[in-house]
């Protein structure tokens, strides 16, 4: 999966979950301030991302996520560490 594909997939998940047009979600969009995601919303969102990508995201990572780009960067880093098929 390319970085662009990851970004696309994250935006799709966000758009569907939050009923926001995909065009309005950018890497610098802030989850809490711009999209109204509260602390529990963030937990729910991470669950959907875990399901979509098939990984477990530790609590410590959730605490650091402020912007959409933070999720994408984390997923890119995680993917790079996966054994190549």
């Amino acid at each position: 999966m390319t970085n662009q594909e990851i970004e696309q997939k994250v935006k799709e998940i966000l758009s569907k979950k939050l009923d926001v047009e995909p065009g309005k979600i950018a890497l610098e969009t802030r989850l809490a301030e711009d999209l109204g995601v509260d602390s529990f919303g963030a937990v729910e969102l991470m669950f959907e991302i875990e399901e979509a990508f098939g990984l477990k995201i530790p609590d410590s990572e959730i605490e650091h996520v402020r912007r959409v780009g933070d999720i994408v960067t984390y997923l890119q880093g995680w993917l790079e560490k996966q054994p190549k098929a």
Binding site: D38, S39, V43, D59
Partner: protein, 411 residues
């Protein structure tokens, strides 16, 4: 407030750090934790693997073997606590008008253990193989009904389900029913048996349980800067509440008085508390008004050991008492017993009554790293002897259900 006063004449309690009032209170006085690695089910792969599991509890000691076999664990707790409380209050049921005796119990989750077992059976063997006793075992009101059936109490019989405020809510409503003359005596409290695989996994996935799995006894650390979530517990408590004249006439032991109660809703979110503490402050202020007090000698806090609750509750206490908040001891018995959800408020009510009787404030154990956001007198690490005439006890539940109770020494 009406002329009818409500007193506590009996206590029964089951918690992970003690079964029965004496054992439970000794553990609370001494600051002994009952948290351990859960072995009620396989926790492999769970983020949290610790809990306030009740050990050494034999339901058959408190109820007929036939009943013990036919009810869920949450009803075991209820029947056993009711049995202890009635014995403690020395009630001669045969001499009472049983239509004037109510049963009001809190439970957030009902008969989960049996429910989950039957779901597994349904998947394994098909839906036509469901146990016919499923409905009466799983129903949350099974606990109040079974207590009513056991002793023949024919007054109002209900279960209140307001998540982690259930037990306190039940006590408050029982208090009102006595105050308003609907009943003369009421068995009330809360029970919960939430240490089941599905339920525990569900709380894990909310990421609100402590993951301090290596040090179970230190995992529940309310108000501490390093707190990382609550520790789920199980158990129950039942109190005999009684109209004061009724208690005096039969020469019942009067352990404490219920002076005030209030409940409200934050009406804002299913699981996130109001960060500013305004809902909590509002419910405390209402309960104080109900009790005719402006101050108390001790606060038994809800204090779950989550980041959000403990900071918001501290703010709430300051909103109510202003600068005086720093002079009122506040402690969290959940530091020792974890959070028994719908039973918590009732177990804490027993701790409050004992604190009044023994003039001793149980500690908040594990508070070793002060949190700048939590700066009250939390009776850290060691309990303390103190002159206590009045106590405020808070309970806050998911769904923004808030309850405050006020207890007083008999006078």
């Amino acid at each position: 407030m009406s002329g009818r006063r409500t007193v506590v004449t009996g206590l029964g309690v089951i918690a992970c750090n003690g079964i029965g009032v004496d054992e439970f209170w000794r553990a609370n006085r001494e600051g002994r934790s009952g948290i351990s690695a859960i072995d009620a089910f396989d926790t492999t792969g769970f983020a949290s693997t610790i809990g306030g599991q009740v050990r050494g509890f034999d339901p058959a000691r408190y109820m007929p073997a036939d009943t013990a076999k036919r009810v869920d664990r949450f009803v075991h707790f209820g029947l056993a606590c009711a049995d202890m409380a009635l014995a403690d209050s020395r009630l001669n049921v045969a001499a009472e008008d049983t239509e004037r005796i109510g049963v009001i119990i809190g439970s957030g989750l009902g008969g989960l253990l049996f429910h989950e077992e039957q779901m597994v059976a349904a998947f394994d063997r098909g839906l036509h193989r469901i146990n016919p006793s499923s409905v009466p075992r799983i129903s949350p009101n099974a606990v109040a009904s079974q207590i009513g059936i056991r002793y023949g109490f024919k007054g109002p019989n209900l279960v209140i389900s307001t998540a982690c405020a259930s037990g306190a809510n039940a006590i408050g409503e029982a208090f009102r029913k006595i105050q308003h003359g609907e009943v003369d005596l009421c068995l009330t409290g809360g029970v919960e048996a939430p240490l089941t695989p599905f339920n525990f996994a569900a709380y894990c996935s909310m990421r609100i349980l402590s993951k301090n799995n290596g040090q179970p006894a230190e995992a529940s650390r309310p108000f501490d800067a390093t707190r990382d979530g609550f520790v789920m517990g199980e158990g129950g408590a039942v109190l005999v509440l009684e109209e004061r004249e009724h208690a005096l006439r039969r020469g019942a032991p009067i352990l404490a008085e219920v002076l005030g109660y209030a409940s409200n809703s934050g009406a804002h979110h299913m699981v996130i508390p109001d960060a500013q503490g305004t809902d909590g402050a509002r419910v405390m202020a209402s309960a104080l008004r109900d009790a005719g007090l402006s101050r108390v000698d001790y606060i038994n806090a809800h204090a779950t050991s989550t980041k959000a609750n403990d900071a918001a509750e501290t703010k709430a206490i300051k909103l109510v008492f202003g600068a005086d908040a720093h002079h009122i001891p506040v402690s969290s018995t959940k530091s020792m017993i974890g959070h028994a959800l719908g039973a918590a408020g009732a177990i804490e009510a027993v701790a409050c009554v004992q604190a009044l009787r023994e003039q001793f404030i149980p500690p908040t154990i594990n508070l070793t790293h002060p949190d700048p956001e939590c700066d009250l007198d939390y009776v850290a690490l060691h309990g303390r002897a103190a002159k206590i005439k009045t106590i405020l006890s808070n309970s806050f539940g998911f769904g923004n259900c808030n309850v405050a109770l006020v207890f007083a020494a008999p006078h």
